[in-house]
């Protein structure tokens, strides 16, 4: 269980800068998720931590010791870091037991230690009865577990995961999320996990590191990332969002923003001056609708453009003052298209970002 400190990490492939200066401090036992769109440098960052890539700039420390710097690095096999790969990377010419004990035997551990660790690793992932199976006889989910058991059996200081669930079907993926999280908490291993699935990130993470184009966009617990996006990119990447451009009319107890001529919204106080150009951001589920005008600030009339039943929610598109808004109503309530209704957004739900 070690702390991982990444300082100004840069990784270039020729002219391509895959990682452009990342700072990240992962506490002992913490579960951190790297989240971001395809090609933003998540895998590269992870591979640098693993020692599979040499870094071009900055440094990586594990447990207070520098393991990567430009031109010098501890080779991956001496870092005591476990890794679960996207493809599982289960060795096809070995049995489950041989896969799990490969690294233990390389360490020349006594036979009883090897078999004890094998047993407890397989128990941990629920594959006790599969030790002698050949890996070609395993399902995708079982291979996934073998990969996990193999990483855990080495009792690493840090566990790395690169989209470990992306090859599983949706149902299994959802179950494995919870299992992974529980397992990590039980073992208390510092973990860094890469995914581009935001729901997965929300479930497993203590903190999410949102990445964009090789840089960190925002770091914070899942709730904070969702409720308080610090950039347009954060707001758009995590969940569905309405983003409205506007201009600050007045600031004081509340900030009033004009969205369109004749339509303004109030948000909670912020450090803005009248005349500032801002983005007003809120989530679809923050929209309330009614046939009659709603009480409180930020009510407005709107016309229903479309409305769909999605099961747990109803998806709704509204138009007001020539602007389209996305809403999600829960419990689901369907509106007829073309209907004139009233809507409202709570000022506390609005996030203002300077443009």
């Amino acid at each position: 269980m070690s702390r991982v400190q990444i300082k100004k990490l840069v990784k270039k492939y020729g002219a391509v800068t895959a990682v452009a200066g990342i700072d990240l401090d992962v506490a002992e036992g913490e579960f951190v998720v790297l989240l971001g769109p395809s090609g933003c440098g998540k895998t590269t960052t992870l591979r640098c931590i693993a020692g599979l890539e040499d870094v071009s700039g900055g440094s990586i420390e594990v447990g207070g010791h520098v393991v990567s710097e430009p031109d010098r690095s501890v080779p991956p096999e001496r870092r005591q870091i476990g890794m679960v790969f996207q493809s599982y990377a289960i060795w096809p010419h070995m049995t489950v037991a041989q896969n799990v004990t490969f690294g233990l035997k390389l360490q020349k551990l006594p036979a009883e230690v090897v078999s004890r660790r094998l047993r407890s690793a397989l128990e941990l992932v629920g594959l006790e009865d599969y030790a002698e199976r050949h890996v070609s006889q395993l399902s995708g989910g079982q291979q996934q577990r073998v990969a996990l058991a193999r990483a855990v059996a080495l009792e690493p200081k840090v566990l790395l995961f690169d989209e470990p669930l992306s090859n599983l079907d949706a149902k299994l993926r959802e179950r494995m999320r919870f299992e992974l999280r529980q397992l990590q908490q039980r073992l208390g291993i510092t973990s860094i996990y890469v995914t581009h699935d935001q729901q997965e990130a929300m479930v497993v993470a203590d903190r999410i590191v949102l990445m964009n184009k090789g840089e960190v966009e925002q770091i914070g617990p899942p709730v904070e990332l969702y409720k308080k996006p610090r950039s347009r990119f954060s707001a758009e990447f995590v969940g569905l969002t309405n983003i409205l451009g506007g201009r600050v009319l007045a600031s004081g107890g509340r900030t009033t923003v004009e969205i369109a001529p004749g339509w303004a919204l109030e948000a909670e106080a912020g450090e803005f001056r009248p005349g500032d150009a801002v983005d007003v951001i809120f989530r679809p589920e923050d929209i309330q609708t009614s046939l009659n005008p709603l009480a409180g600030p930020n009510g407005f009339p709107a016309r229903v453009k479309s409305s769909f039943f999605l099961g747990n929610v109803a998806d709704l598109t509204l138009e007001t003052h020539g602007i389209e808004l996305r809403g999600q109503l829960s419990p689901p309530q369907l509106w007829e298209s073309g209907r004139e209704i009233f809507a409202r957004v709570d000022p506390a739900a609005l996030v203002l970002l300077r443009r």
Partner: protein, 583 residues
């Protein structure tokens, strides 16, 4: 419980400067070796073309005479023309037969299906020169088995047939070469035909085309680049053959450029500079071939949609052509493998060449005599040893070179891999003379080790190309997870990559071994009394007119090769032809 990683904060103990690993050192040694083995003889050949020559070799003085003579004199140009014409004819016939059989096997309901693969590809694993000996036995004008049997049959029916076939002719050269180049055409088109997305043809059918129209209007145009590429390969390979046109041509007054190179470099008075200059002409042919090949591949990638997800096309019903189609394929196998092997065996057991086939004619004397000559036993030993060694070296070096090229992706690794595949474009003959002159003044001259160098240089490209496609199929993460489990790069290579790659490695090993055993064009120049090999023995017995001994050696050589193919198939479960087609 856990040991700390032995690393301090700044003085960075345990930090390694990047990548001086066991793997790198091993690769570097092999890379230097391969570079020297492949490049030096080539440069030597080219350089030799620019000297004055003496009857015994080169004078130290530079001169352009040989180059000018070879590139402009009517004599050398006519030799070149003869070689190109022969290659053109052979290519056309081999291509037609190979593509027809590929089509029959891949796309029709011919009886036997994939089992016919081995029938058609088997000639590839036999020596064409042994095939020539067999066909001389079968097809000589007066003493050939075929003429004799047909003549005897006709005589019984009361008329005089006269010779039906004569292998000692231009047609004879074409016949033997075409038989042995047909498998190349088959090998390089059958998988394309199998993998072609059938929905393309089906769409043509839905648009009203008959099955035949669909094939002619859709399949053939789509496959044209593959056909062309196969044809190009056959052309380049057949243009450099000198053994078959040489043996027959020398009695029928027919000379090709490669044969003239052989004469110039071995028969006194020597014309070494001329041989080297003519060698550069051969190089141009192969370089041109490679360039065109590249171009075609690029064009082909643009519009060939093979390997699509569409399911396999329904086999075309041959109807009443089903039996003749099978007969055609079997007849090919019969002419290229069975008949020659049987003829060789029968002939090698005859006291003297005769067509009466009476029981007292047969004897094992030739084999006894042959193996009482120490030279034969030595040749057998050498052949096996060279096959094993070149197979092993090519397997290890080729795999490591493509591994470094694909996994470490350094510029140097790509350059080495490029150099390694270069010899594929160099005729064996040109390599032969280059090696001969390179090592003339070194102790390995006249030993078998010079042959080993020649075989490695000639067959390392196959090893690199085949292992490349094998490595391509191994997910890099399999090795990386071994690193994460505490294995060094060399351990990961040894414990993970190599075991997974085992079938590919076996295929490379046996293929190179087979190729080395049947290699003749470089061996003839390089082998000596001190270091004979079987293929060269057949050659020298043929040249000296001792056909029975030549046949006996040919039988031994063929038996070894057949045994090897059977072993790879049964013991190692490796389908050589499949591994090859992938490369």
């Amino acid at each position: 419980m856990m040991t700390q990683v032995a690393v301090e904060r700044r003085p960075a103990t345990g930090m390694t400067a990047p990548r001086i690993t066991g793997e790198t050192v091993l690769w570097l040694v092999l890379a230097v070796f391969i570079t020297v083995v492949t490049i030096v003889p080539l440069l030597y050949t080219i350089d030799s073309a620019f000297y004055q020559e003496t009857p015994f070799g080169l004078s130290p003085r530079r001169s352009l005479t040989a180059i000018v003579n070879v590139y402009t004199s009517a004599r050398y140009l006519s030799y070149l023309g003869a070689a190109l014409l022969l290659a053109g004819i052979v290519t056309t016939i081999a291509l037609a037969m190979g593509i027809l059989m590929a089509f029959l096997v891949a796309r029709t309901d011919i009886r036997g299906g994939r089992a016919l693969d081995i029938v058609i590809i088997m000639p590839l694993f036999l020596s064409p020169f042994t095939g020539l000996i067999a066909w001389i036995v079968l097809g000589s004008e007066n003493t050939g088995f075929v003429n004799a049997l047909l003549g005897a049959g006709a005589a019984r029916l009361g008329f005089d047939l006269g010779p039906v076939i004569n292998i000692w002719s231009y047609a004879g050269i074409v016949w033997v070469m075409s038989l042995f180049f047909t498998p190349f055409a088959y090998l390089f088109t059958v998988n394309n035909l199998r993998a072609m997305d059938s929905s393309l043809e089906e769409a043509a059918r839905m648009n009203g085309a008959t099955p035949l129209q669909a094939i002619m209007k859709v399949t053939v145009p789509i496959m044209t680049p593959a056909f062309f590429a196969a044809g190009l390969l056959i052309f380049v390979l057949s243009a450099e053959v000198y053994t078959i046109p040489g043996i027959i041509g020398s009695t029928t007054g027919f000379t090709t450029l490669p044969w003239q190179i052989y004469i110039d470099s071995t028969v006194a008075p020597l014309h070494r500079a001329h041989a080297a200059a003519a060698g550069t002409v051969m190089l141009w042919i192969t370089v041109g071939g490679v360039i065109i090949q590249r171009r075609i591949t690029r064009v082909a990638e643009r519009f060939v949609t093979v390997g699509g997800k569409g399911q396999r096309a329904k086999p075309i019903a041959l109807g009443r052509w089903r039996a003749p189609a099978l007969a055609f394929v079997l007849a090919y196998g019969f002419c290229a493998v069975l008949l020659p092997l049987v003829a060789l065996l029968v002939f090698s057991l005859m006291k003297y060449s005769s067509v009466s086939f009476s029981a007292d004619l047969f004897t094992t004397k030739h084999y006894v005599d042959l193996f009482s000559i120490g030279n034969t036993r030595l040749a057998l030993q050498n052949t096996l040893m060279l096959g094993l060694l070149s197979g092993a070296v090519c397997m290890v070096a080729g795999t490591l070179i493509s591994y470094m090229e694909m996994r470490r992706k350094t510029v140097l690794a790509s350059i080495v891999a490029f150099i390694g595949v270069l010899p594929v474009a160099v005729p064996g003959l040109v390599y032969g003379i280059g090696l001969l002159w390179t090592y003339l003044r070194t102790p390995i001259y006249g030993t078998v080790w010079i042959l080993l160098l020649a075989y490695i240089a000639k067959f390392i490209p196959y090893a690199i190309v085949v292992s490349r496609s094998g490595i391509l199929q191994i997910n890099r993460e399999l090795e990386e997870s071994a690193r994460m489990s505490g294995a060094s790069s060399l351990t990961a290579l040894r414990r993970i990559t190599m075991p997974i790659l085992k079938p590919t490695l076996a295929a490379i090993f046996f293929f190179v071994m087979l190729m080395s055993i049947k290699e003749l064009s470089a061996s003839v120049l390089l082998a000596s009394q001190r270091g004979p090999v079987l293929s060269v023995l057949t050659w020298s017995y043929m040249e000296s007119g001792n056909f029975q001994f030549a046949a006996a050696v040919g039988v031994v050589q063929s038996m070894i090769m057949v045994a090897l193919v059977v072993i790879t198939r049964l013991a190692f479960r490796v389908n050589l032809e499949k591994a090859l087609a992938k490369g």
